[in-house]
């Protein structure tokens, strides 16, 4: 097992490296943030931007170098730098948003904001999906099964941006009926709120409910279909039939024999779902104004903030690869037929 983990971890390195090269080239070649910034400043001041300022911007963002040179500096920090770049030295590089916006600080603080949103949504979606999948399987081809199947496909078919907007408007109307702003539609907490972890969590509840619901319903549908298929397969297996033939009560058969085995695909899928939801939160965060990792990456891509995009690619890449690794390990732990030699 240990050898397997080490081998898989080592395999992540070239995968991550390949992803960063591809993303760096895509972002870097499709933008010229210096020109865009100059235009923005001219719009703001109504005056030409001094050439010295343009030169300084280019130098501070390393846009006075070639693309390969910029990538090499970002990765290694070797060469003539401003001592603010070099992934291998623990430096993420300068953000075009300015010196006050440290990429490392932004990424780490926003990671937890996204995780808060995604964790609740994923746990809730998996819980509901298991329940719906099991009920659907047990009551196969019943009205309940058809209803759950319809809802599953409905939420699966709905684009998340549309579902989000729909729920947001629903929250506004519900508030109107209640005569109080129970559900907040923008942000992840009261502006400027300070407190300990629990206080922050309680404060965030009115902001958490609607986006969690949206993210949850978006993720629930696929897992519930997995669970239904898996449950049906197990229920029709020989050992379940044997248990029934021996006179074991139906509830015990379902709980101890069928469900335990049927949970294996979902349990192994869960880490992937969590890491996938981290990426999928981009749209939900944008709609509900959560300043998480998704919105950060979106803003960075739009602004052509190459080093910020790279940080996101790296973090999300690591999260996905860890998700895949945990998923693979869980297969071995839960299914005795699989052994890692």
């Amino acid at each position: 097992m240990v050898v397997f983990i080490i081998r898989r971890t080592l395999m992540m390195i070239p995968v991550l490296l390949g992803a960063t090269i591809l993303c760096f080239a895509l972002v870097d070649l499709s933008n010229d943030p210096v020109q865009d910034r100059v235009f923005e400043i001219e719009q703001s001041t109504g005056e030409p931007v001094p050439q010295s300022t343009i030169d300084a911007l280019e130098a501070s963002w390393y846009y006075d170098r070639s693309v390969p040179e910029r990538y090499w500096i970002w990765l290694t920090g070797l060469g003539d730098t401003n001592d603010d770049i070099g992934l291998l030295q623990g430096k993420w590089g300068p953000s075009i948003e300015g010196s006050a916006m440290d990429i490392g600080t932004e990424i780490s603080s926003r990671f937890w904001i996204t995780l808060r949103l995604v964790l609740f949504a994923t746990i809730a979606s998996i819980g509901i999906a298991i329940l719906a999948g099991v009920v659907s399987a047990v009551k196969q081809y019943s009205r309940t099964d058809y209803t759950l199947t319809f809802l599953g496909f409905l939420f699966l078919a709905m684009p998340i941006f549309w579902l989000g907007s729909l729920f947001k408007e629903g929250a506004v109307q519900l508030n109107k009926i209640l005569g109080s702003t129970v559900f907040q539609t923008y942000g992840s907490g009261t502006t400027g709120f300070q407190g300990n972890g629990w206080a922050v969590f309680v404060d965030s509840l009115p902001y958490l409910i609607v986006p969690t619901l949206v993210l949850m319903l978006g993720g629930y549908a696929a897992i519930s279909r997995y669970q239904r298929a898996s449950m049906l397969e197990v229920m029709n297996s020989d050992y379940v039939r044997l248990a029934r033939a021996k006179g074991v009560r139906n509830g015990t058969v379902m709980r101890r024999h069928a469900l335990r085995t049927a949970l294996i695909p979902v349990a192994t899928f869960a880490p992937l779902a969590l890491s996938g939801a981290m990426g999928g939160a981009m749209v939900t965060e944008s709609i509900f104004g959560w300043r998480g990792l998704g919105v950060y990456s979106l803003d960075a891509i739009n602004a052509g903030d190459t080093f910020a995009v790279m940080a996101y690619v790296l973090i999300s890449g690591v999260v996905v690869l860890i998700g895949v690794l945990i998923s693979d390990i869980l297969y071995g732990v839960l299914d005795p037929r699989i052994r890692y030699e």
């Binding site: 865009d36 030409p48 010295s52 923008y186 400027g192 709609i287």
Partner: protein, 578 residues
């Protein structure tokens, strides 16, 4: 039956009286509806003592220092409206109002050669920490914006138009005198920004900014990254997060005369017009003056309870530019014909009029319709009139012909083909392109529409990668530098590469007088010339909206200020209903 009728009348009368009573209780003497006729005085009313306002800003910021390239944008300007040491504010009627918390009087011109301006600080003008504003603060600002490495080493000022022109600054008590270099002759000497960051705090942080250019740069960086605890305005920052929010509380040490009534004022970033309108309808915020508005938002606001809004021409103006380096558009006759063929009224009625029903076509590049300096040189030229016959005549006179299938041919027999560019997220610009394409097809010109991803506009402009392009410029009542920025052959913002020595000479003259009226007359001469060059066709002042909860008073939009509705932040309040 009769009794029922009487009862109904009585009930109606009671209801009317009750409503009238409510109306009297609401001390707001006017509403945002009055902004059409009284832009500077609408929505005025008595303020209650206390209250809180949460105001949305439609984008974040990444620096607290407006001197720098990173920190000079409208959003940070709004966020810092409560504490920043502005020289003054333009109101909606083009009147300049000197900052009452800083200056005892308007700046005075004490010498014309070299230009020397005297500022008289108000008694007690301070930084909110017990330290008075002094001549050192003026000098700090000069160094920060000088663009001179001997004063601020490797600094990145957003603009050096003021700082590079200062020859020296001296102080004597409450009087500070700024002396400009001999070549400085701007009619806008009165409106120069002369303060930004507190010099004493730079010194407290150990920056020897006066003697060491590197320390000066380090101080600028410090102010970029540090949440300002100092203030010269009616409010001081209670808490803030970069690019997210600023929470203000009243500044008890403010030297201004206007009484601040709010207990708390929050500026919160809410990105996206849809999100702003939803948050406003949901009661999460009390108002906003976003930099764009669309018909859908207006529809939502119309049907919302307890909200008011007003739409008017904003600080940005839309225009179509032609690239004079294009093989076809290098001919002024073709450019003129293209502009004559474009039907601006048709474009406006299918785009901007959906948002602002009373919107007018813009007829001067530098002065808004209604400005005292406004002169219409455009209409008589037929540019923007959509007159195909006039355009054809212009082309025929210049030797152009048409092929058998109706394509326009140059005098050399080449078929004229152009592209039209616009950023893809702006529906109005897309429609403008489509209508221009259709109109120019009548003239035999094949126009290809080429949308631009939003983030690439700056690059496309800088590389002049367009034949025709629709984009916007920001404007304010200042005009002396604008003509030079837009059209001077030496300007980096002359994106269509117009090179007209006669226009360059006219632009030079604008900056050669200290008299505003004279400068405006010279600016109008430049406008006239650029129309003759058929280089830029103004469309409209882009409509923007201010949207507020009904219980706010003295909150109104101001196109002329970069802070928009926050220009009179000290006067904001919650309506006194007692």
């Amino acid at each position: 039956m009769k009794r029922h009728h009487m009862a109904a009348v009585a009930a109606f009368a009671c209801t009317t009286l009750a409503l009238a009573g409510c109306g009297q209780g609401n001390a707001s003497s006017s509403s945002l509806d009055d902004c059409v006729t009284d832009a500077a005085g609408c929505n005025a009313g008595e303020r209650a003592d206390g209250g809180e306002i949460t105001w949305a800003i439609d984008a974040g910021w990444s620096s607290w220092n407006q001197n720098t390239a990173d920190g000079n944008n409208a959003y940070v300007s709004i966020a810092l409206a409560g504490m920043w040491p502005y020289t003054g504010q333009w109101d909606q009627d083009n009147n300049f109002i000197v900052n009452e918390g800083l200056f005892a009087s308007e700046p005075k011109l004490v010498s014309e050669s070299p230009v020397t301006v005297e500022y008289t600080l108000k008694e007690g003008a301070n930084w909110g920490d017990g330290t008075d504003i002094t001549v050192d603060d003026f000098i700090y600002h000069w160094y920060a914006r000088s663009g001179n490495n001997d004063l601020c080493a490797e600094c990145t000022p957003a603009t050096t138009t003021y700082g590079s022109q200062v020859a020296g600054i001296e102080g004597d008590g409450n009087t500070v005198t700024v002396t400009y270099v001999d070549s400085y002759h701007s009619a806008e000497w009165k409106y120069e920004e002369v303060l930004s960051e507190p010099a004493h705090i730079a010194e407290e942080q150990g920056f020897d900014w006066k003697n060491d250019p590197a320390a000066m740069a380090a101080a600028e960086l410090y102010f970029s990254e540090t949440t300002p605890t100092w203030t010269t305005g009616p409010y001081k920052v209670a808490s803030a997060a970069m690019g997210e929010y600023v929470i203000y509380e009243p500044n008890p040490d403010w030297a201004g005369d206007t009484e601040v009534t709010l207990d708390k004022l929050t500026f919160q970033v809410i990105e996206g017009l849809d999100n702003i309108v939803t948050a406003l309808r949901n009661g999460e915020i009390d108002g906003a003056s976003p930099f764009s508005v669309n018909a859908e938002a207006i529809t939502q606001l119309e049907s919302a309870d307890g909200l008011s809004y007003s739409v008017a021409g904003g600080p940005s103006w839309e225009h179509i530019d032609l690239n004079t380096n294009n093989e076809f558009l290098s001919d002024v006759k073709l450019r003129t014909a293209v502009f004559q063929a474009i039907d601006l009224e048709s474009i406006i009625s299918r785009t901007y009029a959906f948002v602002q029903s009373d919107i007018e076509r813009k007829n001067n590049h530098l002065f808004r319709n209604g400005s005292e300096y406004f002169t219409d040189y455009l209409t008589s030229t037929g540019q923007g009139a959509g007159d195909i016959e006039m355009a054809r005549d212009t082309l025929v006179d210049a030797g152009y012909e048409w092929s058998a299938d109706g394509a326009l041919l140059t005098p050399d027999g080449e078929e004229v083909k152009l592209n039209f560019r616009y950023i893809e997220s702006r529906e109005s610009r897309k429609i403008t392109g489509e209508l221009t394409q259709a109109t120019l097809a009548d003239l035999g010109i094949d126009v290809e529409l080429k949308p631009i991803p939003d983030e690439d506009l700056g690059t496309v402009l800088a590389e002049s990668d367009f034949d025709m392009i629709n984009f916007g410029w920001s404007s304010d009542p200042l005009f002396v530098g604008s003509a030079s920025q837009y059209w001077s052959s030496a300007s980096g913002s002359n994106f269509g590469n117009l090179n007209d020595p006669e226009l360059d000479a006219l632009i030079e003259e604008i900056n050669g007088t200290l008299d505003m009226d004279d400068a405006a007359a010279r600016a109008n001469e430049a406008v006239k010339r650029v129309i003759e060059d058929a280089y830029v066709l103004p469309i409209v002042d882009s409509p923007v909206a201010v949207m507020v909860s009904d219980n706010l008073v003295n909150v109104r939009d101001n196109w002329a200020s970069q802070q928009r509705a926050a220009y009179n932040i000290a006067e904001w309040g919650v309506a006194d209903t007692e």
